[in-house]
């Protein structure tokens, strides 16, 4: 039995939907405005929200991120009397389950409603195994946890996986995690850098060749597809796989059979395929620069890795991880992080993602030399400048589907709450990263023991033993 929340200012619609929900043996509740809706979704375990767009205290679409961040992370179905393409696009792109135009009918809502609840039931009944191998994948934010859920799922099957994400988000790390959590972990993980391979050699490198098959082929070569037999083949930058090779590769995916260049007989390879790209491969397929039938095969399971700015909650734990790693490598004492150093890290948008963060921490440590604490002055000038320029701009306004402009300050929490939330997260991450070593906690935070104890007590954070 699921808990469904309806956020709509029309009480009649709320009651009609409630009646339908009860007929499906679920529990409805409703709110007539944004504020009431947000209060309910933050304090009650809600599985699904029907969300109207035009509400008396604002535009429902602006609530979507806050609803998704609620403890129960409910799914969202948008209901609107003024359907528009841009509104639908915004809703779907922000992760809403569906977008339905009023007037509502049983036919229009039943299927999306049932499918959403089925998806939610399957998703919540699947837990990450306790022993999931995730070497190098740092973070506990919701976006990363969702990706790790998919890693666990992928690890349990042989299905093809496509990993997408900006450069520096960890696509190879995730490919490695899938391989290591699969039954193929004892066999090879063969990496193919599609962008590095010269086009005239791709076929020979992938499929292999017989001695004498072409000028320069002075011995047999086993191709990478065969090297991955029993294991995993990881095609990195798969968007760069030459178009002329794609039909042959598609056949290999379908039949697991292929013929090395110059060989008469076909050979078999039982490999599991993981592919990755930072390009918009759907657009490439539409433009005809990537085969859509091959793309369809690759996308059996898709993992979209979030950009670092989309999981900024992980910046601190990542920073501490890299701080420790590089201090050990360069055999220097652990350094503290000044609050304004941390502020800059949080304010920057990290176009190079985790890789850029790692290099930034590494360079900051080396520039700081014998200094005990890292300050913004140890960061690259360009980074500090970009953060400074961004902070000098006015608060942005968002244009919504209806053409209304609202200030992004419309629903900002109190400053005290923001500070306390950030402080609590900081100390929780610090305890986790240092294993509860109070000396290190004091060193990194720059606070006295007494101050650290006060904060641990305030936020009910237990020291690890």
């Amino acid at each position: 039995m699921a808990n469904i929340l309806i956020i709509d200012d029309d009480k009649l619609i709320c009651e009609i939907l409630s009646s339908f929900i009860r007929s499906q043996d679920h529990t409805p509740s409703y709110a007539l405005n944004m504020q009431e809706g947000l209060q309910k979704v933050s304090s009650e375990p809600i599985d699904l929200v029907f969300l109207d767009v035009r509400l008396p205290d604002g535009n429902g679409l602006a609530m979507v991120p806050q609803i998704q961040e609620a403890p129960s992370s409910p799914l969202i179905i948008i209901i609107t009397g003024e359907g528009s393409r841009s509104g639908a696009k915004m809703a779907i792109e922000s992760g809403c389950w569906d977008y339905i135009e009023k007037p509502l009918s049983i036919e229009t809502i039943k299927l999306p409603f049932l499918r959403a609840l089925q998806y939610r039931k399957e998703k919540t009944s699947f837990h990450i195994p306790v022993a999931l191998k995730r070497e190098g994948i740092i973070g506990d934010s919701k976006p990363i946890e969702e990706c790790l859920n998919l890693v666990a799922k992928a690890g349990g099957t042989d299905t093809n996986v496509l990993i997408t994400g900006e450069t520096g988000t960890g696509k190879e790390l995730f490919a490695k995690a899938i391989h290591e959590n699969s039954r193929r972990t004892d066999k090879a993980l063969v990496v193919v850098d599609c962008a590095a391979l010269p086009e005239h050699l791709v076929e020979s490198i992938l499929f292999g060749h017989a001695k004498g098959a072409f000028t320069g082929a002075n011995r047999d070569r086993i191709g990478l597809i065969k090297e991955a037999d029993g294991g995993t083949l990881f095609l990195d930058e798969v968007g760069d796989l030459p178009l002329r090779i794609q039909p042959a590769f598609l056949r290999v995916l379908q039949e697991r059979l292929f013929r090395p260049i110059g060989e008469r007989r076909e050979i078999h390879s039982n490999f599991r395929l993981i592919a990755a790209t930072n390009r918009n491969i759907d657009q490439m397929a539409q433009a005809g620069t990537f085969r859509s039938d091959l793309l369809f095969r690759l996308k059996s399971l898709v993992i979209n890795l979030p950009a670092l700015r989309e999981r900024s909650q992980d910046i601190m734990v990542l920073t501490l991880y890299f701080l420790r790693k590089f201090c050990e490598r360069y055999e220097i004492g652990i350094k503290g992080l000044s609050p304004d150093f941390c502020e800059v890290l949080f304010a920057y948008d990290w176009p190079g993602n985790v890789r850029e963060l790692a290099h930034t921490i590494e360079m900051a440590l080396l520039i700081a030399k014998d200094e005990q604490t890292l300050y913004p002055v140890h960061l690259p000038n360009e980074l500090r400048l970009k953060v400074k320029i961004t902070s000098l701009h006015d608060a942005p306004t968002k244009e919504l589907a209806s053409g209304q402009k609202i200030s992004s300050s419309a629903s900002l929490p109190k400053l005290k709450e923001v500070i306390e939330t950030a402080e609590k997260k900081y100390f929780a991450d610090l305890i986790s990263a240092t294993g509860g070593d109070l000396k290190m906690v004091c060193q990194i935070s720059g606070l006295s023991r007494a101050n650290v104890y006060t904060r641990l007590k305030k936020y009910h954070i237990a020291r690890l033993t």
Binding site: A188, A195, L201, R329, Y330, E362, P380
Partner: protein
């Protein structure tokens, strides 16, 4: 910005490899190391422009030793030139997660194009992290 070579395969192979690199457009900077100690110490210094690594190995034992310190190669694309094509050697080689594998008994012809492509592809990775504080 350049290439870091670890070579235990003998002078002839090393010279062949260096000649190939010299022939690349915009001949990249080169660092060459011959012992594991030298290589480990190198990785205790900043990466400082090393874009890709090439390991030209003379024996399976060298490969086993490198596997013990592979965490040092964090996020640096690797080209691996294996000493032989034995199943076990190749299997160990793939544990390094190289971006490209070649063999010491080959002609190295394919290596030049691969290195050129990789230099172009990866040099942007470090541009955002240049520090002007010096």
């Amino acid at each position: 910005m350049g290439i870091l070579i670890f070579s235990t395969s003998g002078k002839e192979h090393e010279e062949r490899l260096v000649d190939l690199i010299d022939a690349l457009p915009h001949r990249p900077a080169l660092e060459i190391y011959h012992t594991l100690l030298e290589l480990s110490e190198r990785f205790r210094r900043p990466r400082d422009g090393a874009i890709i690594m090439v390991f030209l190995l003379g024996s399976r034992e060298d490969l086993l030793s490198l596997l013990l310190i592979k965490d040092f190669f964090f996020d640096i694309p690797l080209i691996l030139i294996l000493p032989d094509r034995e199943k076990e050697t190749v299997s160990l080689g793939f544990k390094m997660l190289p971006r490209f594998v070649s063999y010491g008994d080959g002609t190295f012809e394919d290596l030049q194009s691969v290195m050129g492509n990789m230099l172009k592809q990866y040099e942007h990775r470090f541009e955002n992290n240049k520090n002007n504080n010096d």
